[in-house]
Every structure is written in C-alpha cells, then in structure tokens.
Symmetry: C2
Subunit: 297 residues, 2 copies
C-alpha cells in the first residue's frame, strides 16, 4: 500500500466515528447498529480519495476529514440497504454477518437511514465552523453538493435501480455503462471532487480528477466483477459467483473475461495519462489505479 | 381550513415535484415510485409550517419553497420506510396502496433513500442561487442543519428506533415522551425553525416558534393516537386500532382516553399562550393548533 494511502487511512479510521451523533441510552441500538457497519473496515477507498484530492489541491487534509467520513457513511448506508433481504439478500459482508443478520431488518433499514442523514448533518455542522469565512464556506457547499448528487437519483441510486431492474435480463453494453458509471463511479468521482473543493482546487485540477475518477470507478467495478468469477471467497470476505447466480449485468457477462482484463488495462492507462502532467505529485493516484489492476493478476 | 394554510398548500402542491431530479429513462421506476408517494397528498403540515414560519418572520415565502418541499420529501421517505414489511407492514396509506405494495420492497427502500438524498441535494442546490449573498447563504445553512438534525439520530430516527423497540413492552411515561418528542415533534419543530431561518427570524421569534412547535408536535401525536382508537378508518384513509394490535406505546395506552383529551387541551392552551403576544399575526398558528384539537371532538 502506498505510504500516503496509509497515512490517510490512519486518520480516517481514527476519526470515523467522530461524526456519530451523541449516544442516547434510549436509542442505543441505532447507534450500535450504525457503528457495527462503520467499523467493519474495508479499504476506505472513498474517504481516502477525499483526503488525497484535498492534499493534491494544496489543502490541509484535517479540514477534509468531516467530508471523508461523511462519504464513508453514505457508502456504508448503501451497503446496508443493498444487503437487505429485499435487495441482494446477503448474509456476509467483509467476512462478518451483514447488519440485518445481527440487528434485524427493521434496525438495519433505520441504521442505513441514520448513516445517510448523519452524513449530511455532519457536513452542515462543519460549515458552522467556517461560518465567518465566506470562501471556506463556499468550498464546503460545493463539496456537499457533489456528494449529494453522486449519492442521489442521478448518481448512485440511479445505478442501483438499473442494477436491480436488469437482473436476469439480457443486457446491452449501453445499460452496463449506465449501471457502472452511476452505481460505482459516481461516488468515486464525488469523493475526488469533494476533496478537491475543500483543498481549493482550480478548474483544471477538478476536471482532471473527475476524469481520473471515471476511469478509476469503472476499473474498480470491472475488477470487482472479475474477482466475483476468479477470486477467492475467503480473501474477499464474501461469497463469489454471486453475480452469475443473480443474473447480474456485468462486464464479463457481456464481453467475457479476456476483454474485461483488457478493459481494466485500458482504463488504467488512460487514468495514468490524465495524471501524467502532474509527475510525482500524482504518485498516490498512479499507485492506486495500478494496484487495483494488479488485484486481478 | 385557515386561508393562509390554503395559500401555502396551493404553492407547496404546485411545486412539490419541482425538486425531483431530471428523469432518466433507465431509472424511471425510481422517479415514479418517489413521485407516487409524494403526490399522495396528505395535509402537507410540515411544508406549510415552513412557509408559515418564513412569512411570520417577515420573509418571502417563495424563497422557502425548496426547504418546504425538502422537508416533505424527508417526511415521505420516513413514511415509505415505516410502511415496509420489516417495519409496520402497512398495506394502505392515505387510502392508497403503500409504496412497496405497488413497486416492491426493493424499489420502496430505494425510493425512500432517493427522497432523503434528493431533499439534501435540492437544499444544497438552492444555496448556489444565493452564493453571492453571504447573509442569505447562512440562513439556508441554518435551515438545512435544523432539518438534518430533526430527521437524524437525535431526532426523528431516535424516536423511530425507540418506537420499534418498545412495541409490546410495558411503557414508562418517560419513554413515551421520548418517542413523541423525537418521532413527531422533532420534524415539526425543524419545519418551523427552517422557515423562520429563511424568513430571517430573530432569536425571540425562533424560540417562540420552537416552543409552539413542541406543543403542536406533541398534541399532533396524541390526536393521532386518539383517532387510532375512536376515529373512522374511511375518513382517516388507514386502518384503525393498529396501535393496540401492535402493542405500541401511546398516550392513551398509558394514561387512558380521558387524560389524552385533557392533555391535548393543555398543549393547545400552552401553544396559544406562547403565540399570544403576536396577536393577529399568529392567526395561522392559533387556528392550526385549535383545528387539530377539534379533530378528536
């Protein structure tokens, strides 16, 4: 793992539960169920992207922390709801029982709702800390808007719906792109843009990070699809072969495995070329997309 | 119905779907399921409170519309998730099939998620319209914060969790208060405070509206509990007697019906006394709480 990634990850882990609301003994179960899924680990890709983009744009990563955590809250809510029996009906996630298997479906639904709401509550709360600095305030509004849009009905949720509705149907390349761009890439792009805003990025940096994020997001989803076929269940912490079982529309299901590997390589090359003008400053981003591609090898 | 209420309601109804994201043919079902529950009517109490509080504070109600609609989106999401089989398992709401009975549980879960996210997306988007007016921007941040907090884990969701966890248990008056204040009053207070912020209320007006909102919210919930016992199912658009069937902790279940009527009267009196110093300017608020109390008579 890249040294910067480690540094971001450490900070993110240390502050992940900071934005959880105060505990009240009467709603302790809500708090615990939210925390259960939050501390379940994972790569923390999205929050680390927020931190990296902030630093890349010249900002202080400490100031990006609330947004980094908020985006992981949004991501975690989407996983909890996605695992519900009425959705993907998964029993395990990252090697642990899914939220509803531990807390019940009612509490898992509310835990997801709580994480999503808390994300916005925390971002808005952070704005009050910068209430007397108009410039800083505007950066945060921009960051929150990108996160809301990425998570919303023209982003992640649009992808989720198309994903659910196309299960077991013969898929088109166009629909596959739509699902991948919205379900996965949208939040990765949102993370990069949010961090870039907080860091004070100019339009060029913002555009380049957006373009890099599209490549990274698509590559990330295709790698995920490949690993569901060739990966090791134990290593991945979840059952494999599930996409085929569910009749999910994936890159390998349309184009085959070979073409999938090739597409990941193409996306990696393109991502590297976008960041090339930044030389060593883009080391984090270069390492990240290359490590991702190497996971399938 | 009070003439002002009618005026607010008309505006709210006219603009309710304005903040829905652009339709995309590939995620049309998400759009339709969100809209299905949004246009289902109801009293639109919360958005009308936003409008009323804005005007009461001296603001232009047009500027409060995005926040009025956003709070109805939040309310609607909470109803959709609350109706799910894993929660209250309701088949009807306002005389129509509940969202999941029409679109399935998966889509209903996503529709709720979509409404919640869209509410925040729309409020943030509105901020861009006031980007060059720091004073207006800050009003909107304050409004959004109150809405997020009211809907979140120290507000509505805390109440939902306590409500779910206390089904069938012998309840305490303390727990009943906790559930009512959080589950119902929190969002009513949030609506009033959000509108007051947008309207530019001073601290005194904000405090009085908050106090009024607490009375109104508690009275509203107790009236709801009473009507579940003595009300007419057809008129209410939902089955009655459900609280007892589910072993819900309600005001009548702890104190009996007579004490419940009395408590509504006390809350009404207190609400009227809070608004008394405003004389005719508070007509909307006075009419509202009196009409509410009269529903049980």
């Amino acid at each position: 793992m890249n040294a910067d990634y480690k540094r971001y990850l450490e900070l993110v882990e240390m502050h992940m539960v900071d934005i959880l609301p105060d505990v009240d003994s009467k709603s302790l179960t809500l708090y615990e169920s939210m925390k259960y899924s939050l501390v379940a680990g994972g790569k923390r890709l999205r929050p680390c992207l927020v931190m990296a983009a902030c630093e890349f744009a010249g900002g202080n990563i400490q100031t990006a922390l609330p947004y980094a955590c908020a985006i992981e809250y949004v991501h975690t809510y989407s996983l909890i709801h996605d695992d519900l029996p009425c959705m993907d009906d998964d029993d395990y996630r990252r090697g642990r029982l899914t939220n509803h298997k531990v807390y019940g479906e009612d509490m898992a639904t509310l835990a997801g709702d709580g994480l999503l709401t808390t994300a916005f509550e925390a971002m808005t709360k952070d704005m009050f800390l910068h209430f007397d600095n108009e410039k800083e305030l505007k950066k945060r509004i921009r960051a929150m808007y990108d996160i809301a849009k990425g998570a919303g009905c023209s982003g992640m949720l649009a992808g989720q719906v198309a994903d659910v509705e196309n299960e077991g149907k013969p898929g088109s390349p166009e629909m596959l792109d739509y699902i991948h761009i919205n379900k996965t890439a949208a939040m990765i792009i949102a993370a990069l843009r949010a961090g870039a805003h907080i860091g004070g990025a100019d339009d060029k940096v913002l555009a380049d990070l957006t373009s890099y994020g599209e490549d990274l997001g698509l590559a990330f989803q295709i790698v995920d699809d490949i690993l569901d076929i060739v990966g090791d269940a134990k290593e991945l912490g979840k059952e494999t072969g599930m996409d085929e079982k569910r009749g999910k529309l994936t890159y390998p299901s349309i184009y085959g495995l070979d073409a999938s590997y090739k597409r990941v390589d193409e996306l990696t090359e393109h991502a590297l070329s976008v960041m090339a003008p930044y030389y060593d400053n883009a080391e984090f981003f270069n390492d990240l997309v290359q490590e991702l591609a190497s996971r399938t090898k």
